[in-house]
């Protein structure tokens, strides 16, 4: 049934349908509405679970880790400073290969302080060893949340479902909330192969000498690469059940004959879709929406970009002193092609800066005037800066 729901409210409902047994969270804008909605579901008896209002995000991540190890399905949500405060635990959860689902309501990272959206937070922890799925709209946020539990539990890896703060979390949309029967059919009860149980005592998180460390890291890397199959099959099975899909590893749309593609990650897809609709005909452009950033789908990306002349990567975070994060990885992946397309890399929409429809001509201008080909922040107004910083 289609319901008009705020993104956060919809995600809270999706989480509840997954029957989590332990939820721990700490409030931070723009994640707050998610945990408030969950708290209400618990208070109203609509969700039976242990909801732990912890004293920090560091403890939120630690509580769900303990809970998952002790045999319960566990969920948390955070953003920005909260994600960074969790940092050490995030690596730890992933290294122990514990299935946990977390929503990241993407937000800029201080300083300067900003409560608004970009994706610096989840990008900053991209090496933590979590699966990262990005949502382009709220329906995907709902469906990806449910899929995330299955992916996590089958691959024994934690999954971070990233949804743009405010743009998605605080926006009302018509959303199809699946039925409990559908979710139950898709997601079996939680089972973890390395649960702590007194009649079969095991030790987890032990000290590993150089003799075994590379192997441990390699197997973690392999597990993430192998998770591609789980991400694809979860989306396929979900589509069979509900008729809706989230694009698997990535999705491609636009005219077949296009020689140009714009690759985005997250909710900016909607803006570009609309801008392209208004574009005077002549320039066929494909849109590639990267859903899985970890694992990074090299093969799927190569297929999607084969035969293209230009790929324009638009992202909402970057690595100061280097440049684009997604752009660099796209460049690396496509370099494996025989005739790789040119990769142009832009960041925009930082700290909540609006990305208007007019971004499209600015992006496409790079085709006739590629400049030095280096990464650029597209919407900087230099006149706001002191001369020496321009």
């Amino acid at each position: 049934m289609l319901e008009a729901l705020e993104g956060s409210q919809a995600v809270a409902k999706a989480v509840a349908l997954c029957r989590p047994q332990v939820i721990a969270a700490y409030p931070i804008t723009p994640q707050t509405h998610i945990v408030e909605n969950i708290s209400k579901l618990v208070a109203d008896g609509k969700l039976q679970c242990e909801f732990i209002s912890v004293e920090s995000e560091f403890s939120a991540a630690s509580v769900v880790l303990g809970a998952a190890l002790a045999g319960s399905r566990a969920y948390t949500a955070s953003a920005s400073q909260g994600i960074l405060l969790m940092g050490e635990v995030l690596f730890n959860i992933a290294g122990m290969r514990v299935p946990i689902v977390m929503t990241c309501a993407n937000r800029a990272v201080s300083s300067p302080l900003s409560i608004w959206n970009d994706q610096q937070d989840s990008m900053a922890v991209r090496d933590a060893g979590w699966i990262q799925l990005y949502c382009s709209d709220n329906q995907e946020a709902v469906d990806s949340t449910i899929q995330a539990f299955r992916i996590a539990e089958r691959s024994e890896l934690p999954v971070m479902v990233c949804m743009d703060g405010f743009t998605l979390t605080h926006t009302m949309e018509g959303i199809e909330i699946p039925t409990q029967q559908q979710v139950d059919a898709f997601l079996p009860p939680y089972k973890f192969s390395r649960s702590l149980v007194p009649n079969n005592p095991i030790s987890l998180g032990t000290l590993v000498s150089p003799e075994f460390f590379s192997e441990a890291r390699y197997s973690h890397h392999k597990a993430l690469l192998n998770a591609e199959a789980e991400i694809v099959s979860a989306d396929r099975d979900w589509a069979a059940l509900t008729g809706r899909r989230c694009g698997g590893l990535l999705s491609v749309e636009g005219p077949e004959q296009s020689k140009v593609a714009i690759l985005t990650i997250g909710s900016v897809l909607g803006t570009l879709r609309e801008a392209l609709r208004e574009l005077p005909s002549g320039q066929p452009v494909k849109l590639i929406s990267l859903r899985s950033f970890r694992p990074f789908p090299v093969d799927a990306l190569k297929v999607a970009c084969k035969g293209l002349d230009d790929v324009i990567v638009l992202e909402r975070a970057f690595s100061p002193g280097s440049g684009g994060i997604v752009g660099l990885e796209v460049l690396g992946a496509l370099s494996e092609l025989a005739n790789p397309p040119r990769v142009h890399n832009f960041a925009a929409g930082l700290g909540g800066r609006d990305i208007p429809l007019e971004i499209l001509p600015k992006l496409l201008a790079v085709l006739s005037d590629p400049g030095d080909g280096r990464f650029r922040v597209i919407d900087v107004d230099l006149s706001k800066l002191p001369v020496e910083d321009r």
């Binding site: 242990e50 190890l69 030790s203």
Partner: protein, 328 residues
């Protein structure tokens, strides 16, 4: 019919539960190893343990080996209270009664893990938190913690021309913990094994957060021979420097009386970490007086001085010295 059996045979045949096996890599005479064994033995097998980073974690679990016979997880240095809380929440959700134990060093408890511990206590999780208090960061090579006693030498509180060891006082963690008004908080010492057992059993029977701070001598970090651990730990109690107390809902409930109060120098002299206090120097004499005053203060506020013979005082309580045969 009588059968002759060797003590060692008898021990092997004893059907006593052991949570921590021998073969781990602790230093000879390590207090932590003995405490972990006593605590898990008293707690029994229906437990699971969250263990902070530190000596205990390191010496018990060099992959692919483990000395634990109970389900055990090490996550990080400073989140043990929270990991234990999560384990407890999960067990509650599943309707299971397995008790969660949390083990942390003084660094992981007094300092870096304090916030997670406080959160766990405040939220009332059914967890027994045991602090292995060896009064410094031993695992990283003997650096001061907020549990390090005043004037003790560590690698980050060395004595010198301008300093007499650690400048600050030992944090009164058990009072701070008790101020959360949890059902039960207590101190104990490895010199009194049956006191540890009694308190663990007591805590195990309580539904809610409980806390046990156990004084844990460390031959390497304190500077004495490994076979002296119990004697050294006893002196800390006998001098009044480490009071053995129980607090219920934040109120003092009982203390272990001192039959005979010994001067602090008897304790300090046994350890290299205090050797700079035993030179002919005005500052050293002042520090010794200061430490004696700290012990006197403990004795006064907790009313530690015993009155006559008491089976449960510092001399009467079952100890290794008296009950050696039984616990050997």
């Amino acid at each position: 019919m009588t059968t002759n059996i060797l003590i060692s045979e008898l021990r092997k045949n004893q059907p006593r539960f052991r949570g921590l096996e021998s073969g781990h890599r602790a230093c000879l005479g390590c207090g932590e190893a003995l405490i972990a064994r006593l605590v898990t033995e008293a707690a029994g097998p229906d437990v699971m343990v969250a263990n902070a980073t530190g000596c205990l974690e390191i010496f018990t679990t060099p992959w692919p080996e483990s000395a634990w016979r109970v389900p055990w997880v090490h996550s990080l240095f400073e989140n043990t209270g929270a990991v234990a809380a999560g384990m407890e929440a999960a067990l509650k959700a599943q309707g299971k009664s397995t008790k969660v134990l949390a083990f942390g060093g003084d660094g992981g408890t007094f300092d870096i893990g304090f916030q997670a511990l406080s959160g766990m206590l405040e939220r009332g999780h059914n967890v027994l938190y045991v602090c292995f208090d060896n009064e410094a960061y031993m695992n990283t090579g003997i650096q001061r913690s907020s549990s390090t006693p005043h004037a003790a030498m560590t690698t980050t509180s060395p004595p010198g021309k301008m300093r007499m060891g650690k400048r600050h006082l030992k944090k009164d963690i058990v009072s701070i913990v008790a101020a959360h008004h949890i059902p039960y908080a207590a101190t104990s010492s490895v010199a009194y094994p049956s006191d540890i057992r009694k308190k663990v059993r007591r805590a195990m029977a309580i539904e809610g957060p409980t806390f046990l701070q156990v004084h844990s001598p460390c031959p390497l970090g304190w500077g004495y021979e490994g076979d002296q651990s119990i004697a050294v730990a006893r002196l800390a109690v006998q001098t009044g420097l480490f009071p053995i107390i129980e607090l219920e809902r934040g109120e003092l409930a009982s203390v272990m009386p001192l039959r005979e109060v010994l001067p602090v120098s008897d304790y300090l002299r046994t350890q290299q970490r205090f050797r700079h206090l035993f030179v002919d120097d005005l500052r050293a004499r002042e520090e010794l007086e200061h430490i004696q005053a700290l012990a006197d203060h403990n004795i006064e506020i907790y009313n530690l001085r015993g009155v006559g013979l008491d089976a449960f005082d510092s001399e009467g309580m079952d100890t290794v010295r008296r009950g050696g045969g039984r616990w050997a």
